[in-house]
Amino acid sequence: MAEQLYNAIFVGSIYALFAVGFALVFSVLDILNLAHPVVFMLGAFVALFCMSTVGLPAALAVVAAFLATGLFGIFLDRVAFAPLRRRGAPPLSAMISSLGFAIVVIRLMELRYGPDLVSYPAGSLPQAVVQIGDARLDGLRLLIIGLAILLMGALTYVVRATQLGRDIRALAENPRAARLLGVDVDRAIAATFFISSGLGGVAGALLGFAYNAIYPQMGTPYELKAFTVMVVGGMGSLPGAVLGAYILGIGEIAALVFLPAEFAELRDALAFGLLFLVLVIRPRGLLGHRSVERA
């Protein structure tokens, strides 16, 4: 039981890291970034490259994944979103542009690495087992949970208490007013994408470590989950997305534990049903505060 709860928190942490970046871009720029699963996948592959080709230890590979995917996020914005902003295009066109971008990058990665599972070099991942009472817990996952919580704490600090965070929030409120108030809007947008994609990349690397199996399409299943979690948490609310992510994680593991094997296909339905119930009771989402005009 304790092990299942532990797994639920682990899965929830990965969802949260993924969803918080997804929600950040949405809350600041109103963009549904369908290329977010791509930075997730790239994070895992950057870590692989660092560990197998460069020979870095796992901890440094995670840092490298954060920086590389963060920079990639800025590149993504310049290529897929900035041209649309200049044209004053409707928000849906940004979603489509990011979808095209995602198709290109995933296919390029498949050409390079093949569509199949790739593992990290043997012995490169820290291994430990933590014994708490009767429960044997995988130590690597404990590290991952801790790091995820730390990163989300750091994000909260940056958004709430720094000048950059104030700039980003001003931009989210009203880009034109922010510019008039002297906010360097381009810098704030670049920072938003750096943070969002960096966190997504770290999530990918950490998930890759935990399962020791990565592949170019690995981010795809997380897209719908992040989207769901964001709506349930309250569109654009970062703490809401995190809360929603843990609820989804717990719901999925609960479905795994309590549903008999012959209903295995209904597991996703149960987890999503739980979130749907949240929406019925609380239409604006868990921590959403204004009426939402989208989705």
Binding site: A89, S93, V104, R107, T228, P283
Partner: protein, 274 residues
């Protein structure tokens, strides 16, 4: 003449899929035109697909009747959901995520091309007529400014609900046709990816007119076939084309004609007048 017959024989499936995708794109266009984003049409498509296939296979219901029942069922289900939607925007998402766990094999492939294209012609014609009617103008008003529309006495809820229900019925009809074009239905056919795909058809084609979704669905469905000679680089080019089209024509392919006209007017210095 033989060349044309040969073309139809070789590309029969693609031509059929193009028609079905055009119908799906129109189903989402109705709601987009009324200013609502919906990801639920893949689920309504599934209702039509399973409904008509099961009616035909288990009860021997004739195909057109099965299609009609599927569309009706979908519309009836859309009604309470549509009501909830006004209170609860996340419902769109929720219906997009409803999992259809069961696959279905051995569906008789009895959909004929003329049935698909007759359906498309009828739906496109009706929507085109509706667009020019009071309802069409109400939808446009709601899309541009809901509060202003309400203050003009437009029954917002009724018109939004009508758009939602009409979209659901069209999607279900397309789903029924699609199920009988292939031998089987896979549960994964109606997920998030499909919902996004339908939306992409409509938006890339352009939402100002009924022609937009049809153009978008046609070109994007045919694109993989056209790019087939590129082999493993096909998807890369398809993705790049998708990006370029939406960046240069963010309001859709059908605005290309308008763009030309504006340019010509600009050249003679009359753009402001037009």
């Amino acid at each position: 003449m033989d060349a044309i017959a040969e073309f139809f024989r070789v590309y029969q499936t693609t031509i059929g899929v193009i028609g079905i995708n055009a119908l799906l794109a129109l189903s989402v266009w109705v709601t987009l035109y009324a200013g609502q984003l919906t990801l639920g049409n893949a689920a309504f498509m599934a209702i039509g697909a399973y409904g008509s296939a099961l009616l035909g296979m288990r009860l021997g219901v004739p195909f057109p009747l099965g299609l009609a029942v599927g569309a009706l069922l979908s519309a009836v289900l859309a009604l309470p959901l549509g009501f909830a939607v006004f209170r609860l925007r996340g419902v769109y998402l929720a219906i997009a995520t409803i999992g259809f766990a069961l696959g279905l094999n051995g569906i008789p492939p009895i959909t004929e091309l003329w049935q698909i294209y007759l359906s498309l012609a009828v739906v496109a014609y009706v929507l085109w007529r509706v667009q020019g009617s009071t309802a069409g103008r109400a939808w446009a008003a709601i899309r541009e400014d809901e509060i202003a529309a309400a203050s003009q006495g437009i029954a917002i809820r009724r018109y939004k609900l009508a758009a939602f229900v009409a979209g659901a019925a069209i999607a279900a009809w397309a789903g029924g046709l699609s199920a009988h074009l292939n031998f089987s239905i896979e549960p994964g056919d109606f997920g998030f990816t499909r919902a996004v795909q339908i939306l992409v058809f409509a938006v890339v084609g352009g939402t100002p007119s009924v022609a937009g979704p049809i153009v978008g669905a046609t070109l994007l469905t045919a694109l993989p076939e056209i790019l087939r000679p590129l082999k493993e680089y096909r998807d890369i080019f398809a993705g790049l084309i998708l990006m370029l089209v939406i960046i240069y024509l963010p309001r859709g392919l059908v605005t290309l004609a308008e763009l030309r006209k504006t340019r010509q007017l600009q050249e003679i210095g009359a753009a402001d007048v037009a």
